[in-house]
């Protein structure tokens, strides 16, 4: 932007100086011709045509860029020096009467080499006629030299003016841009622990960042307090729920003859189980993200682990008439992982795949191993995840818009998967298949605790 403005200004300047220079040299050229005509007429009066001829020759211009013609009062041409390299250029035919006393009649001729021949015509006191012409070849040389100097000056000016602009962009705009970038990162919600990076060079920006970061500290502190309170609440809820469960179980076993009471008690127990698993998920997820999840690492055959899960879900897949496939590498892969957690993560993915893949669809669980990481995946040919949901589904309490009311869930499953991946220093993600979905868990060979 700034560069193009500077460029336009330079071009304008160039055009303006060219016009001005050409105009000035034109004026100067005419003045020279007028002077020379005057000089030759004085010499003619003193020493006749001979004197004019020798003065012209002494100038050393004859035929190159100056021409001369002298016609006697009787109309006879006494001198006629034409351009040596363009002899075809002839004097114009000007009626004698048209040049008034002491006046100069002008004539111009565009030459084939691009120069212009300007000719002046004057009537001498004895009624002889004097023609003097001059090309602007020398003027053009001078203009081109001036142009070169201007170009040099412009180049220097450009460097001197763009330099500060670049400096400004670097020292002032870049810190502002990085401030905007980090503020955007904060706004998008990833990592409340991130802070604006203040620029050391601009005190105002530094102060702004500090104030902003202080308010972020406050927000983070409040969030942490709230989360700690949630954890505490989750813990505290377990004991009363345990009391309720104990009593409901008692009702269930003491009501063998009353099916209505049994029905109610059974419903109550399944609600208690749902609530319990919700509390458990919240606590596990919190532990995973806060780094408090200790992974219990043991060397595990991943092929065996995946095959076990395949076995675990075969019955459910069969019930839904799904094509359930197992895909394992030729060689077994052994990694140090927390097998309970990883199994839990994969079970969540399988649960989702089985829930969302239509009857008679296809679900595949598998594993690919690389030198320093492995990828555990669950694929299906179900409806996939809408573009707009691909980030949302990983967040807590967020379900995709394809989530159906028939599928129970409160939107913690994938968040738990990601928390488990994070605790293993790995990643969890989604890849669109056409058609269908792939959810994967990538674990580094050096998982968990460092």
């Amino acid at each position: 932007m700034t560069i193009s403005i500077v460029g336009a200004a330079m071009a304008l300047m160039w055009w303006f100086t060219s016009v001005a220079l050409n105009h000035s040299f034109d004026e100067i050229g005419r003045a020279i011709i007028e002077d020379d005509l005057g000089e030759y007429s004085v010499v003619y009066e003193q020493s006749g045509a001979e004197g004019v001829a020798s003065l012209f020759r002494a100038g050393g211009h004859d035929g190159h860029d100056q021409i001369l013609k002298l016609i006697s009062p009787s109309g006879e041409t006494i001198l006629n020096v034409r351009l040596t390299d363009q002899p075809q250029v002839d004097w114009p035919d000007i009626p004698k009467a048209s040049s008034v006393n002491d006046g100069v009649t002008w004539n111009r001729h565009q030459l084939s080499d691009g120069t212009t021949l300007t000719m002046g015509h004057r009537i001498l006191p004895d009624n002889a006629e004097l023609w003097f012409g001059r090309t602007n070849a020398k003027d053009l040389e001078a203009v081109s030299e001036i142009h070169q100097l201007i170009l040099l000056a412009m180049a220097i000016t450009t460097v001197l003016s763009v330099g500060p602009i670049l400096w400004f962009a670097g020292r002032v705009l870049r810190p502002v841009q990085s401030l905007i970038a980090s503020a955007k990162g904060l706004a998008s919600g990833d990592g409340l622990e991130n802070r604006l990076q203040p620029s050391a060079s601009i005190p105002e920006l530094r102060e702004f960042s500090e104030v902003f970061n202080e308010s972020l500290d406050r927000v983070q502190r409040l969030t942490e307090e709230l989360e700690a309170a949630n954890d505490q609440l989750a813990h505290e809820l377990r004991t009363p729920i345990a009391r309720i469960r104990g009593n409901v179980e008692r009702i269930l076993s003491n009501s063998e003859n009353d099916s209505a009471v049994q029905e109610d008690a059974a419903k109550a127990i399944s609600e208690i189980e749902r609530t319990t698993s919700l509390i458990q998920s919240i606590l596990t997820i919190r532990a995973g993200y806060s780094g408090a999840m200790k992974v219990n690492l043991e060397s595990v055959s991943l092929c065996a682990l995946v095959a076990d899960l395949f076995d675990l879900y075969s019955a459910s897949a069969e019930e839904k008439e799904l094509a359930f496939l197992l895909s394992l590498p030729d060689e077994d892969v052994s990694f140090k992982i927390d097998s309970q957690r990883v199994r839990q993560a994969l079970c969540n993915l399988l649960d989702n795949a089985l829930a969302y893949t239509p009857r008679k669809g296809k679900v595949e669980i598998g594993l690919t191993g690389e030198a320093d990481y492995c990828t555990l995946f669950v694929r299906d040919n179900g409806p996939g995840v809408a573009q707009a949901d691909r980030d949302r589904i990983w967040r807590r309490f967020m379900r995709g818009t394809n989530a159906s009311a028939d599928v129970p869930g409160i939107g913690l499953g994938l968040n738990l998967v990601r928390a488990i991946a994070t605790a293993h220093k790995g990643e969890a993600g989604y890849t669109e298949l056409s058609p269908g979905s792939e959810f994967w868990l990538r674990l580094p060979i050096e998982s968990g605790e460092s």
Binding site: H235, A242, A266, T276, L283, A287, K294, L312, R343, D351
Partner: protein
Amino acid sequence: MKLLLVEDDAELARQLNTELAGAGYDVAVFRDGLQGREAALQEKWDLAVLDVSLPYLNGFEIVKQMRSEGVDIPVIFLTAKGDVNDRIQGLSDGGDDYLTKPFSMDELKARLLALSRRYGGGSPAELRLPEGWSLDRLLREVTVRGKAVPLQPREWSLLNLFLAHHEEVLTNTFVLDQVWGIQFDPGTNVINATICRLRKKLDDPGHPSHIETIRSRGYRFRSDV
């Protein structure tokens, strides 16, 4: 069997006392960590059920001291924390099993029984097989009414679990832990499906099944149906 119960929540302590006494245990209840430790070290017990969060002294500390004093009885922790980290710590401090509140009483009883058998010499419990059944442990085969029935590994493990816990209610979580080694609810019907296969292979058509489904509680194996 003498059972030491240390639980500070009055209502839970009452429920546990009633249930465990009903299951034939001789239960003594203590309500804080210090009393619990005193009792654990001074008297002789066959089993201990300890809450983790207790006034004065937590359950982990009690077990540590019991083990260092050479008290070698099965110990199950009850906890409201339920984090896998706690589970690992509880087990490494000398506990044998770990139940997260809220838990099912059936689950606690099944685990207590499994533990006391393990401590009782490590030999499998005396199996009460239905009439006309015999087991071949080497071939992993069961012979039912004169016919050899081959079982898949999981079916075999599940059948053995049922036989070891004859007449007891086994919860889903207990079965998943013992047969599949999974300590969370994967939300599949794998247990139900495996039980269906076992029923098809073992039951006498026209008779009630040996494996009974008990709504909201789990499954129970009966040899005489």
